[in-house]
């Protein structure tokens, strides 16, 4: 596939890996924020190509993982209603709520449908005028334009039976929360290439300056990630702290202008709870007042749900990069993809699930007291 396969070329990857090894003179800890990058790193074994001095941490780059428990419970409550067709991306179906997940609601007879795009959900609303169609609008800034368009079209066309349960999260506030935390070990970031495709990267410039960290906007294929790491290492070695753009084939500094315009019309910045981390101010998107009629939480009166997390799950610490999955006592024993305790094990992008799937053999071979540092992975 063009513009995909070329970025998986083994020879070029080796060249970049060698260059990273030669450039690295001391230990560096780099965080990649995006679940898609986590997936690629683990699936292609990219961290095994890096020198042992480089520690790659997996950040909270999984909007599925960070969707608060309350939202899952609201989704389950709405989806269980007989008058509702509940539409969602596939990832969300197995994320555990307090008692059930959406998959269980589906098995119990709820009309829960997986869609590829929010536009598909809107079409379902047009085709089922006597049902309420609700779409679970989660995601980072990357997904927000699609969700915005669906709501915008619903308003323009006057589709009364469509609403969205919104739980969007924004990356820069999460990065700032990590950088400003006492426990922070992150020295450089690979910023999420598709988030920046939409938003541009001007928001990262103040972060790089304030916290003196290099931030490299990076793509998702092996060569992208290797080049991003190389660029980040060079900055670290040279004492620079700038925002650079590795993913220039998709990302421009100003991002996608029409998308940002519709986002500011349909959404407004709100405080948002991140599962496992807690509330981060101004870190989420909610519907703007002009679109409040399409808010499913209001329409179905489920705004007041509260919820309790499983105490054994340390996904918050994993999401912040403070712990690695294999350091959790429950990893691979009580907590597995089949019986997840928290979202990082359910979502295919969650750090715990990715580790379990691709690297479990190493984890099982080493004693559980493995330190947080150590070779790349």
């Amino acid at each position: 596939m063009k513009y995909l396969d070329e970025y998986r070329d083994a020879a070029t990857a080796r060249k970049l890996a060698t260059a990273i090894a030669h450039a690295t003179t001391r230990p560096w800890t780099i965080m990649e924020v995006c679940g898609g990058q986590t997936h690629a790193i683990v699936r292609f074994g990219i961290d095994t190509l890096l020198p042992p001095e480089i520690t790659l941490l997996h950040g909270p780059g999984c909007p599925v993982c960070v969707t608060p428990l309350e939202v899952l419970d609201q989704a389950v409550a709405i989806a269980s209603r007989p008058d509702v067709i509940f539409c969602s991306f596939g990832d969300m179906l197995r994320v555990p709520g307090s008692e059930h997940d959406l998959f269980q609601v589906k098995s119990n007879g709820g009309d829960v449908r997986i869609v590829y795009s929010p536009i598909d959900a809107l079409q379902i609303a047009r085709e089922n005028p006597r049902k309420e169609v609700v779409f679970l609008a989660v995601g980072f800034e990357t997904t927000a334009p699609a969700n915005a368009m669906a709501v915008h079209r619903a308003k323009e066309e006057g589709i009364p039976n469509f609403s969205v349960l919104v739980s969007h999260v924004l990356v820069p506030p999460a990065m700032e929360a990590i950088l400003s935390s006492r426990k922070n070990r992150v020295q450089g970031f690979l910023a999420a290439g598709h988030v920046c495709t939409v938003m541009g990267y001007t928001e990262y410039e103040p972060l790089a300056r304030k916290y003196r960290v290099p931030i490299v906007v990076t793509g998702f294929e092996p060569l992208d990630i290797l080049q991003g790491v190389h660029m980040c290492v060079l900055q670290l070695e040279e004492g620079r702290a700038e925002v650079e753009n590795q993913y220039a084939r998709s990302v421009r500094r100003e991002g996608n202008v029409p998308a940002r315009a519709l986002l500011s019309e349909v959404f407004t910045v709100v405080p948002r709870k991140w599962r496992g981390i807690g509330e981060i101010p101004e870190s989420g998107l909610g519907l703007a007042p002009a679109y409040a009629a399409f808010d499913a939480a209001r329409r179905f009166r489920v705004e007041d749900h509260t919820a309790q997390e499983n105490p054994e799950c340390i996904s918050g610490l994993v999401l912040q990069g403070v712990r690695k999955p294999q350091e959790c006592p429950a990893f691979g024993t009580k907590c597995t993809p089949l019986h997840p305790l928290g979202a990082t094990m359910v979502s295919a992008e969650g750090a715990c699930a990715a580790y379990y799937k691709y690297r479990r053999h190493e984890v099982m071979a080493t004693p559980r007291s493995a330190s947080a540092e150590g070779s790349g992975g």
């Binding site: 596939m1 995909l4 998986r8 083994a10 990857a13 080796r14 679940g35 898609g36 997936h39 683990v42 699936r43 292609f44 074994g45 990219i46 095994t48 190509l49 999984c62 909007p63 599925v64 539409c87 991306f89 596939g90 990832d91 179906l93 197995r94 449908r113 997986i114 869609v115 590829y116 598909d120 959900a121 379902i124 995601g139 997904t143 092996p222 597995t336 993809p337 089949l338 979502s347 295919a348 992008e349 379990y356 799937k357 691709y358 690297r359 479990r360 053999h361 099982m364 071979a365």
Partner: protein
């Protein structure tokens, strides 16, 4: 298909266009359904008496016996339907034992309200698949469940076949050094089915690869290949087949990702939906474990589509993992997908 139905409609549409509870009651309606839908399609001597059981001639050789139940949704997809699956699935399980499939039973659970013409279409598919595979459906059963308690049609087929080779074909016969051969590209069935489901529509030229495998297996045996083990790839795809065999045989495998054929259409669909081709379902694919010295013979026998995808490693101190060499030259471990693979945005 619909034209053919109009000509041969067994039960006049205006009388009983849909399945009723009475069709499962064992009375006149059941008899009518059997005689006008099932018997004409499956017609054979063993079935004809419509007795409690079929009486079959003795076989020369060890017998293989298997059963499976088919609950696919949607019922009809490009390249097949639940009926094609029900026949080929069981035929293929027999083929994986090294057996020549002979007879099938077919048990139907029909949902009240199912259009008879859908049932007819499925049964015709079964008839065609049975003929292509060289098997006969010799006995069966029909039950009807209340509307809302089934996905239209569930089919159970059990099958019996005769093993005409002295080889013991199974995971216990896998040896270190064996070559792992695959009979074609993977992932077509899963993508074809997904393409039909609401919300995941795309223009797709992908048809299910649902096909009987007895032929290629018999070809291998006749060519003199000392087949150690066979496994067809179904749900869970190549991943499940290899991981389960590795555990049964307690031996590690090494696979080269680049050597596994995947068509562009399957690749494209997997990339946009975030699926792993290795874990997508198939219905007409199998892996064969053969001695390394016979790998060229095996590949040549399978024809153009056959591919050597890896080998069996010596037993080591590690647990018997399936290691995949990625296009980058790094290694990852294959693990079973937990449950149905779902499209993702992350």
């Amino acid at each position: 298909m619909i034209d053919e139905f109009a000509l041969q409609c067994p039960i006049p549409l205006d009388d009983n266009p849909t399945v009723q509870m009475g069709h499962g009651g064992g009375g006149r309606m059941t008899r009518e359904l059997i005689e006008r839908v099932f018997v004409p399609v499956f017609a054979n001597e063993a079935l004809a008496p419509l007795h409690d059981g079929a009486i079959l001639p003795p076989a020369r050789g060890r017998l293989a016996f298997t059963t499976d139940t088919f609950v696919v949704r949607p019922l009809f997809f490009r390249g097949g339907d639940v009926g094609t699956l029900a026949v080929n699935g069981t035929v293929n399980d027999l083929a994986m034992c090294g057996a020549r499939p002979l007879y099938l039973s077919a048990g139907f659970i029909l949902e009240e309200g199912l259009p008879i013409k859908d049932l007819w279409r499925v049964v015709l598919s079964m008839g065609a698949a049975a003929k292509a595979a060289g098997v006969r459906v010799v006995t069966g059963d029909t039950k009807v469940v209340d509307r809302g308690h089934g996905d239209g049609i569930y089919i159970n087929t059990a099958g019996v076949g005769v093993i005409e080779t002295d080889l013991t074909i199974g995971p216990g016969s896998i040896r270190p050094g064996d070559a792992i051969v695959l009979n074609g590209d993977i992932g077509r069935h899963g993508i074809a089915v997904m393409a039909e489901r609401e919300g995941l529509q795309f223009e797709s030229e992908i048809s299910s690869d649902c096909a009987p495998l007895a032929g290629p297996v018999q070809d291998l045996l006749r060519a003199g290949v000392e087949v150690h083990c066979l496994r067809d790839l179904t749900r869970g795809g190549l991943t499940s087949a290899l991981v389960e065999l590795g555990e049964s045989a307690a031996l590690p495998f090494r696979i080269r990702e680049d050597a596994v054929p995947v068509r562009d259409e399957v690749r494209g669909a997997c990339e946009i939906l975030g699926l792993e081709p290795f874990s997508v379902a198939n219905e007409g694919r199998f892996v064969a474990f053969v001695p390394s010295g016979q790998v060229e013979l095996a590949r040549a026998t399978l024809g153009g589509e056959g591919a050597v995808i890896g080998s069996v490693e010596p037993r080591g101190t590690d647990p018997p993992f399936v290691r995949v060499e990625t296009p980058l030259g790094t290694t990852r471990i294959l693990d079973l997908p937990s449950g149905e693979q779902l499209p993702r945005i992350c």
